[in-house]
Symmetry: C2
Amino acid sequence: MRELDAHARKALDEALSRQGLRPTVQRTHVFGVLLHKRDHPTADEVFVRAKEELPGISLATVYNCLETLVACHLVRQVNYEREPTRYCPNLAAHAHFHDAKSGRIYDVDLPPALLEKLRKVLPEGWNADTIELSFRGRKTKAS
Amino acid sequence: MRELDAHARKALDEALSRQGLRPTVQRTHVFGVLLHKRDHPTADEVFVRAKEELPGISLATVYNCLETLVACHLVRQVNYEREPTRYCPNLAAHAHFHDAKSGRIYDVDLPPALLEKLRKVLPEGWNADTIELSFRGRKTKAS
DNA sequence: CTTGACTTTGGAACTATTCTAATTCCATTT
DNA sequence: AAATGGAATTAGAATAGTTCCAAAGTCAAG
């Protein structure tokens, strides 16, 4: 992952400058790491991967960059039980499936119609900004 | 909350003995604390409440008891972001609503039909043992 | 009573994350 | 180009929720 593609580059620059922040090499690279392998890494894993190209980067910076990317809505946090937070650059509406066997997390598409139905379970006057749906179980088939 | 009612007592005794565990005074009391005020307390909050009647109880024991109750399926854990784990004695299928303003967590009933629909978003061969659904937002009306 | 498994306890240890203070970077102004 | 000042990065210390551990206590069964 030498470089961000033009689309990602633009999304990053715009989202950052919207909040008066600069696209530093660390931020850019951390974003690149997430886009490169979309497997929901932890901050530590991002740190290890980031160091391959930016040996001097610190863990604190990785945390800072991830926090910034989340604040800019370029990346989502995924929490599962008390495990370390994972990071996900998939911004489309989706749920997560935690495979008990491998520990891996998979994205699962959420049809907009279902999202609407979910919103409807809330009583009048309760407004949800975010909806999180996660499954835990076992995959018996790959796919 | 001097005593567990007969129903809770029975559920506790049966669930514990199913795993060869004993209904100690600490376990019984921690369960009682959760049933008494169903507001999703943290382990620390349970600790504080438990000490009112059992001044000698230790935090480690509260953690142990909660873990045991969860393992016996008498209590559910509720995690939200990286906040401390909360505990919930409501075993019926339900979602959680996190009120951003008050920080409080509310139970939201989940119709079985909706649960079925949720299960259907998973690809063939992916079997969910647990489904977690949580909302975050603001309540504009009490209710 | 003894035995042996289960429990509880206090405190130490662990770990993900946040904080802090010092340094570096970089765009802008001189 | 040098100086300025706010933003960003850094290493390491600090924090907080939770788990671990070894010792002491409890209890049912023999």
